[in-house]
């Protein structure tokens, strides 16, 4: 294993000496592995547990390990992908504007559910980490984990959490929500797609929303809203809640 890793590293060092080649190589690897992950998920009947983001992260991490490439070098190569998170966040304005009629009809209920869900997510996340003896960094990074990742990373940067940890928590939380969301809520006797969609958007952001969107268009609209509005609400309440929490 050690010698295999060494050989691969030598091949890597021999053929990718130029920064430009390195950028092209890691961009190709990232895109290819993600595309493969998407195909695999479709092949598995769109199973929520076969998440392409997790798949891509695992294989790129393995690639970094066997070519002995530092994460800094990799991130430098693919930072154009990371940059697109900003415009993609702004792009969420379009589904938000498109579904405005549905919102105004159930505005009071939505406002209540949004506040209750946001506060529950932030407080329970931070408290559970602290109660079980987790470090302060981890608790801070856990606070915005239910928000869609571009917003969560921005919030965590602002409050002093670790962006990479928050990204991982947001993705893992989204997968958990997508896997258990619908069955849990049906067991509670909730069949309204507005509630299913909003809950997925607020507690699990993009990954859980994708799961609901495959099932019902009304659920999709409310999931999109949950993502957008939860971003705003959480960005405002996280600094407030952290001000009052111990530590």
């Amino acid at each position: 294993m050690q010698s295999l890793s060494h050989t691969l590293h030598q091949i890597y060092a021999r053929f990718l000496p130029e920064p430009n080649m390195e950028t092209l190589f890691w961009l190709s690897v990232t895109l290819a592995v993600f595309a493969l992950g998407v195909r695999l998920q479709i092949r598995l009947g769109r199973a929520p547990w076969a998440n392409p983001v997790l798949f891509a992260i695992a294989f790129v991490a393995l690639g970094l390990l066997i070519t002995e490439t530092p994460y800094g070098t990799y991130f430098q190569s693919v930072k154009i992908i990371n940059f697109l998170l900003g415009p993609a966040t702004v792009a969420l304005a379009i589904p938000l504007a498109d579904s405005i009629r549905l919102v105004t009809r159930s505005l009071p209920a939505m406002t209540l559910a949004l506040l209750a869900g946001s506060i529950t997510s932030v407080v329970s996340g931070v408290l559970l980490v602290l109660l079980l003896g987790g470090s302060h960094d981890v608790a801070l990074s856990m606070a915005p984990k239910a928000v869609t990742t571009p917003i969560a990373i921005a919030i965590t940067t602002q409050i002093g959490g670790i962006p990479a940890l928050t990204a991982a928590f947001a993705i893992l939380g989204g997968i958990i929500a997508a896997m258990i969301g619908e069955t849990t809520l049906r067991r509670l006797g909730i069949t309204d797609w507005r509630a299913h969609g909003l809950a997925a958007g607020i507690a699990g952001s993009g990954i859980a929303a994708a799961q609901v969107a495959q099932r019902d268009p009304v659920g999709a609209a409310f999931a999109a809203l949950g993502i957008g509005l939860n971003g705003l609400v959480t960005a405002i309440i996280v600094p407030l809640i952290l001000y009052f929490l111990p530590g």
């Binding site: 790129v60 702004v90 940890l165 928590f169 939380g173 509670l188 909003l198 929303a209 957008g228």
Partner: protein
């Protein structure tokens, strides 16, 4: 297409500028998102449906945003791979992380859906379950 991308970038720029100048707790792209949504709604309220769509609220902007949102997952990968640098922290806090992630996500889901369910007066719309081919938004 270039105009559509320009609109997204410009709104992100304005949002980020506002955040810096006013010291807002909300990240710049999020401010940009709400500004763009407000601008679209304002534009649509002034435009009659029988008139042609304005160059600003264009089909190009819709399709670009749909493409960006459709590959949102890919955009998380570079930051997500940063997990390798966090392995010591993750392993040292394995139990609190696992319990907090699972418990907090479950609680958030149940509280949101329960409040929404109780506070919604009108009856739920009938269930329709089409397969949209995995397209999210």
């Amino acid at each position: 297409m270039p105009e559509a991308f320009l609109i997204l970038i410009l709104f992100q720029l304005v949002g980020s500028a506002l955040q810096t100048v006013l010291h807002l707790p909300v990240p710049g792209p999020v401010i940009g998102m709400f500004l763009l949504a407000a601008a679209l709604l304002w534009k649509r309220s002034r435009t009659r449906t029988d008139k042609p769509a304005s160059s600003f609220d264009s089909p190009a902007l819709s399709s670009l945003s749909r493409s960006l949102i459709a590959c949102l997952g890919l955009l998380f990968v570079p930051a997500g791979v940063g997990l390798v640098t966090q392995m010591p922290v993750l392993l040292a806090n394995g139990l609190p992380i696992a319990v907090a992630l699972f418990g907090s996500t479950l609680l958030g889901l149940m509280v949101t859906a329960f409040v929404m369910h109780k506070a919604t007066r009108d009856r739920p719309s009938p269930e329709r379950i089409p397969d949209t081919g995995g397209q999210v938004l």
